[in-house]
C-alpha cells in the first residue's frame, strides 16, 4: 500500500500522451471572442490620447481602456503600484494601454494595430546602477523597492582578501505554452476565469480589486509550464480578459503570441553582485561582504522577496563567521522582472561559486578542497544565525564525485560541426536552497488544504496547482500512504477557487514540502474523524470505513502549522530564514570549440538532497529539467534590448533555449536526508536544480580554455572576446 518512493503513473499522464489534456487554448465556448492588447511603445511617456483609426471597421470590436475598469486600476500583489491598464503615464515599453476583442484572432490583431496611442515623451531611466541617485523618479523618491542589510560582523583585517564583481543576466522562463486566459460571463451574472496559471488565489485577490466584487471563480486549466512565469503575471492577463468579457458580454480568450509573450512578460532579475571575502592562507573563510544591486523593472511586483532570497543565499553553502550583506532592488523604466524558478538564489550562487573558484585559483588551492574546508554541516550557523539541521552538503558532494568517476559516454560530433579542436573541461559547483517561503511567510499565509471522503474514495482539495511538476500525483501518494490504501482511490478536486481552499501560491519549492504536509495532516485528521464517528480505536482505514454507518461526505480541513523548532525575527532578519534546506552538487563535463566559443555539454552529474523522494521519477525529472534551464542560462540565453528597453530577440529563433542535442547526458543521484516536518521527510526541490549548474559550466570552461568568465551569459561571442583579451587563469 505504501506508494511513497514508487514511480506510480502520473495521474494526468494518459491524458497528456493522448492529446486529451485540455489547456486553455483548447477551450472554445459558444460565442467566444479573441482578445488582444495594445501596448506602449515608449519607456516613459504621458499618454495624450488613444485614438481609433476611423478607416477601420469597429462594429464588431470591443475596446477597453482604463476608464472601463469597474473597481480599482491596480494589479494587487505586494504593493499597489502597477495598473491593469495605463492611466495617464506609461512606465515601460509593452505596458498595456488598451484592449480589444473580436470574433477572430486575425480581427483582434488587426484592430489592435489600428488603435493609435499619442505620446509625450518623458525622461527615461534604464540603468539600474544609476537608479538610486537619479533625478527621475519611478518608485518613491529614490527608486528603491527594497533595501536589505544583514550585518553579522565585518572584516577581521587578518586574512587574505579577494574581491570581484559578478553580473547575471535577464532570462525568460520560456514555458512552451504561452500565457493564456479565458473569461466567461455566466448567466447568473458571475464570471468564470480559466487559464494557464500557477496561483489561482493570486488572481482571485487581484480580480476582486479590479472588479470591486467577488462573484467569480478562478480555475486552472492544464498548464503548459510556468517556472515562475505564471506566478504573478497571469493576474494581469486574467484582468484583461475579464474586462473585455464584461464589456462585450461574451466569453473572451486571450492567448499571447510568442513574440508578445517574450516582450511583455516578466524575466529573471539581473543582478550585479560584488563580493569581498577574507580567508586564511589555507582557505578557511573568515568574512564575507556582498553588495548587490537588482533591477526590478518599472513596478514592484515580487521584487522585494526576490531580493530577500538572493541576499539569504549569497553566502552559498559555506560556513562564514562574519558576514555583511547589503542588497538593494531598484526601479528602471523596463518591463517588470518577476518570479523565475530559483527566485534570486541562482543569481546569488553564480556569484558565490565563481568567487570560490577565484579564491582557489588565487591561493593555488584545489577548488574541491577549498569547498570541503568550508562546507556547512549540522550545527553550523547560517548568515542569519540560524542553526542548521539535516544538512547534506558533504553527502551530495561525495555522491557526485563518485558518480562522475564513470567514463563519459561517447557522443557523436554535432551535425555540421566540421573540424573542431574541442577542448574539454570539468567543473564543480555546489548549492543550497531554502525550502518554502522566506522567514515568517508560511506563518502569515496559513496555507489550507482539505480532504473529502466520498463513499470509499478520497478527494484532495487544494489551491496548489500541478504545472507539470506532478503534485497532482504526489498528493494522492501522500494521502494513500498515510492511510494505507491504494493510490488509485485518491483523486484531486479541480483547482477551482469555488471548490478548493487557498493553499498559498504554487511557488518557492513549497508545494510538496509545505502543502504536502498539510495534506498529510488532513489524512491524519480524517482518520481521527472516522475513529470518532465509528467509536473504533483502529488505525486501519479499511476497518474504519467498514464500521461506518453513514454515506455522508466527510470533510476535514487543515491549516499549516509552522514547524515549532523554527525561529525567525523579521525585524532584524535573524534566525532560521527557512525551515530547512536542500543541497546539491553538480559536475559538468563540456567541450568548447576554441574557434567559435561554442560550448557543448557532454554530461551533467547531479547529486541532490531531496529529503525523501516521494516519486523518484518525478523528482529526478524536476532536477534534470531545472538543470538544463540553468545550463541554457549559462551559455545560450540572452535577452537583447533596444534603446527603449524592449526585447528585440522576441522569437524562438533568436531567444534560443537548449535542444536535445545541446543537452548533456544526465546522471541524477538522489540523497535522502529527511526533514522531520516534511511529508515522509520530503524537502522542497523545485528550484534548487537552477542554482549551481551555470557556475559548474563556468568552472569547466575555465579548465578547458584557461578563461575566467564572471558574467552571464557565457555566449560564444563573450567566450571569444575573453580569449582575445587573454584572460588567462
Amino acid at each position: 500500500m505504501m506508494s511513497i518512493g514508487k514511480a506510480v503513473v502520473r495521474t494526468d499522464g494518459r491524458a497528456k500522451v493522448t492529446g486529451q489534456a485540455i489547456y486553455v487554448d483548447d477551450l472554445r465556448p459558444e460565442g467566444c471572442l479573441y482578445g488582444a492588447t495594445v501596448r506602449s511603445e515608449r519607456a516613459h511617456a504621458r499618454i495624450l490620447g488613444i485614438d481609433l483609426d476611423p478607416s477601420f471597421d469597429w462594429t464588431d470590436i470591443t475596446v477597453v481602456t482604463a476608464e472601463d475598469i469597474p473597481g480599482e486600476n491596480v494589479v494587487a500583489l505586494m504593493t499597489d503600484d502597477q495598473p491593469v491598464l495605463v492611466d495617464g503615464e506609461c512606465r515601460h515599453v509593452m505596458e498595456a494601454v488598451a484592449l480589444v476583442a473580436a470574433p477572430t484572432r486575425e480581427r483582434a490583431l488587426q484592430a489592435a494595430h489600428r488603435v493609435q496611442v499619442r505620446y509625450e515623451e518623458l525622461p527615461v531611466l534604464l540603468d539600474p546602477a544609476q537608479a538610486e541617485n537619479s533625478p527621475i523618479h519611478i518608485f518613491g523618491t529614490d527608486n528603491v523597492f527594497k533595501r536589505l542589510v544583514i550585518d553579522r560582523g565585518t572584516s577581521t583585517g587578518m586574512g587574505v582578501v579577494h574581491k570581484a564583481t559578478y553580473h547575471t543576466s535577464l532570462a525568460e522562463q520560456l514555458y512552451i505554452e504561452p500565457q493564456g486566459m479565458l473569461a466567461i460571463p455566466e448567466k447568473d451574472g458571475s464570471l468564470t476565469i480559466i487559464g494557464s496559471l500557477q496561483c489561482p488565489y493570486y488572481i482571485h485577490k487581484a480580480l476582486k480589486r479590479v472588479l470591486g466584487h467577488s462573484r467569480f471563480h478562478v480555475v486552472q486549466a492544464v498548464t503548459g509550464g510556468g517556472f515562475g512565469g505564471k506566478e504573478e503575471f497571469p493576474s494581469m492577463v486574467a484582468a484583461h480578459a475579464t474586462l473585455l468579457a464584461i464589456k462585450s458580454g461574451r466569453p473572451v480568450k486571450m492567448i499571447y503570441r510568442r513574440d508578445e509573450d517574450l516582450r511583455a512578460s516578466t524575466k529573471r532579475h539581473p543582478a550585479i553582485i560584488q563580493i569581498t571575502s577574507e580567508c586564511t592562507p589555507e582557505g578557511e573563510l573568515l568574512s564575507w561582504d556582498a553588495r548587490i544591486i537588482v533591477d526590478g523593472g518599472a513596478y514592484n511586483t515580487l521584487t522585494p522577496v526576490v531580493l530577500s532570497r538572493l541576499v539569504l543565499h549569497v553566502t552559498g553553502p559555506y560556513r562564514i563567521p562574519k558576514v555583511h550583506l547589503e542588497g538593494v532592488a531598484v526601479a528602471t523604466h523596463t518591463p517588470p522582472n518577476g518570479a523565475y524558478r530559483g527566485f534570486g538564489a541562482p543569481q546569488a550562487q553564480w556569484a558565490v561559486e565563481r568567487h570560490m573558484d577565484r579564491i582557489a585559483r588565487e591561493l593555488g588551492i584545489d577548488p574541491l578542497e577549498l569547498r570541503r574546508k568550508n562546507l556547512l554541516k549540522d550545527g553550523d550557523l547560517t548568515a542569519t544565525g540560524g542553526v542548521l539541521h539535516d544538512t547534506a552538503a558533504f553527502l551530495v558532494l561525495e555522491e557526485a564525485l563518485e558518480a562522475a568517476r564513470a567514463p563519459l559516454l561517447q557522443r557523436a560530433p554535432p551535425p555540421g560541426a566540421g573540424i573542431a579542436h574541442w577542448k574539454r573541461g570539468r567543473g564543480l559547483a555546489l548549492a543550497f536552497h531554502g525550502c518554502g517561503f522566506t522567514g515568517n511567510g508560511e506563518s502569515w499565509l496559513k496555507g489550507k488544504a482539505a480532504l473529502e471522503l466520498v463513499g470509499s474514495d478520497l478527494r484532495i482539495l487544494t489551491g496548489s496547482t500541478d504545472i507539470g511538476q506532478g503534485t497532482d500525483t504526489i498528493f494522492p501518494q501522500i494521502v494513500a500512504s498515510e492511510l494505507g490504501i491504494p493510490v488509485e482511490r485518491v483523486s484531486m478536486a479541480p483547482h477551482d477557487t469555488a471548490q478548493v481552499p487557498d493553499s498559498g501560491p504554487t511557488v518557492a519549492s513549497r508545494t510538496t514540502m509545505v502543502v504536502g504536509s498539510v495534506v498529510q495532516s488532513c489524512a491524519k485528521k480524517l482518520r481521527l474523524a472516522l475513529q470518532a464517528e465509528t467509536g473504533l480505536a483502529s488505525n486501519n482505514f479499511a476497518e474504519l470505513l467498514a464500521a461506518r454507518n453513514s454515506d455522508a461526505v466527510l470533510k476535514v480541513e487543515h491549516v499549516y502549522e509552522p514547524d515549532a523548532s523554527i525561529r525567525w525575527n523579521d525585524a532584524d532578519y535573524s534566525g532560521d530564514a527557512y525551515p530547512t534546506y536542500g543541497w546539491s552538487a553538480n559536475i559538468v563535463d563540456l567541450e568548447v570549440d576554441p574557434d567559435t566559443g561554442e560550448i557543448r555539454y557532454l554530461r551533467l552529474v547531479t547529486a541532490t538532497d531531496v529529503g525523501r523522494a516521494i516519486h523518484p521519477v518525478l523528482v529526478s525529472g524536476q532536477i534534470e529539467g531545472g538543470a538544463l534551464q540553468a545550463l541554457g542560462w549559462a551559455n545560450l540565453e540572452e535577452v537583447v534590448r533596444d534603446q527603449h528597453g524592449c526585447m528585440r530577440n522576441d522569437r524562438l529563433t533568436n531567444y534560443i533555449i537548449p535542444t536535445s542535442l545541446d543537452a548533456p547526458e544526465m546522471v541524477t543521484r538522489l540523497i535522502e536526508v529527511p526533514y522531520a516536518a516534511g511529508p515522509f521527510g520530503a524537502k522542497g526541490v523545485g528550484e534548487l536544480p537552477l542554482d549551481a549548474p551555470a557556475a559548474a559550466a563556468a568552472a569547466a570552461l575555465e579548465q578547458a580554455l584557461g578563461l575566467v568568465l564572471d558574467d552571464l551569459p557565457m555566449t560564444p561571442e563573450r567566450v571569444l572576446l575573453a580569449m582575445e583579451r587573454g584572460h588567462a587563469a
Binding site: T18, G19, Q20, Y175, E177, G226, G621, S660, M666
Partner: protein, 157 residues
C-alpha cells in the same frame, strides 16, 4: 477551396481558405486540439504531425498542401484504448511533465521509430532536436524513445 484528405485514417472534407495553416484546420475546424502551438514559426515542434508518414510542423503547412494527403496527429497514435509503445514509454520513463510539448514529441518519435525501431541515443537526440521541451532536460524523453520498442517487445514476451 474544398479540402479532401484523411486525418487519423478518417476521410475529411472541409471548406477552407487554401492558405489556412494546417494547425488551425486541425484545432479549429476538426477540433483535434491535441496538436499544440508554441511559437507559430516551426521552432518549437509542439505542432508536429505526420503528413504521408513524414513529420512536419503543422503551423508551417498551408491547407492546400495536404490535399489528398494523410495526416496523423497525436490523437491518431493509439489504437483505441491501446496506447502506442512510445506513449506507454513516456508514461513509464517520465517523458511528459507539463505535457504541452508531449504531442509533438510523440509524433516525431513515432516518425523516427517507424524508420529506426532501435535508435541510438544520438539518433534520438538528433531526431528530436526540432522539439523544444523546457521541463525535462530531455533526459527522460530520450530514455523513453530509446527504449520504447524494446520495452514493448519485452512486455510481449
Amino acid at each position: 477551396m474544398r479540402l479532401e484528405c484523411r486525418v487519423n485514417n478518417q476521410a475529411v472534407s472541409v471548406e477552407t481558405a487554401p492558405m489556412t495553416r494546417l494547425i488551425d484546420l486541425l484545432r479549429e475546424d476538426l477540433r483535434l486540439t491535441g496538436t499544440k502551438e508554441g511559437c507559430g514559426e516551426g521552432e518549437c515542434g509542439a505542432c508536429t504531425v505526420l503528413i504521408d508518414t513524414k513529420p512536419a510542423c503543422s503551423c508551417l503547412v498551408p491547407a492546400v498542401q495536404v490535399q489528398d494527403a494523410h495526416v496523423v496527429t497525436v490523437e491518431g497514435l493509439a489504437k483505441g484504448e491501446q496506447l502506442a509503445a512510445v506513449q506507454q514509454a513516456f508514461l513509464e520513463f517520465g517523458g511528459a511533465q507539463c505535457g504541452i510539448c508531449t504531442p509533438g514529441f510523440l509524433v516525431m518519435a513515432q516518425a523516427l521509430l517507424n524508420e529506426h525501431p532501435h535508435p541510438t541515443r544520438e539518433q534520438v537526440r538528433e531526431a528530436l532536436a526540432g522539439n523544444l521541451c523546457r521541463c525535462t532536460g530531455y533526459q527522460k524523453i530520450v530514455d523513453a524513445v530509446e527504449n520504447a520498442l524494446a520495452g514493448a517487445e519485452h512486455a510481449r514476451q
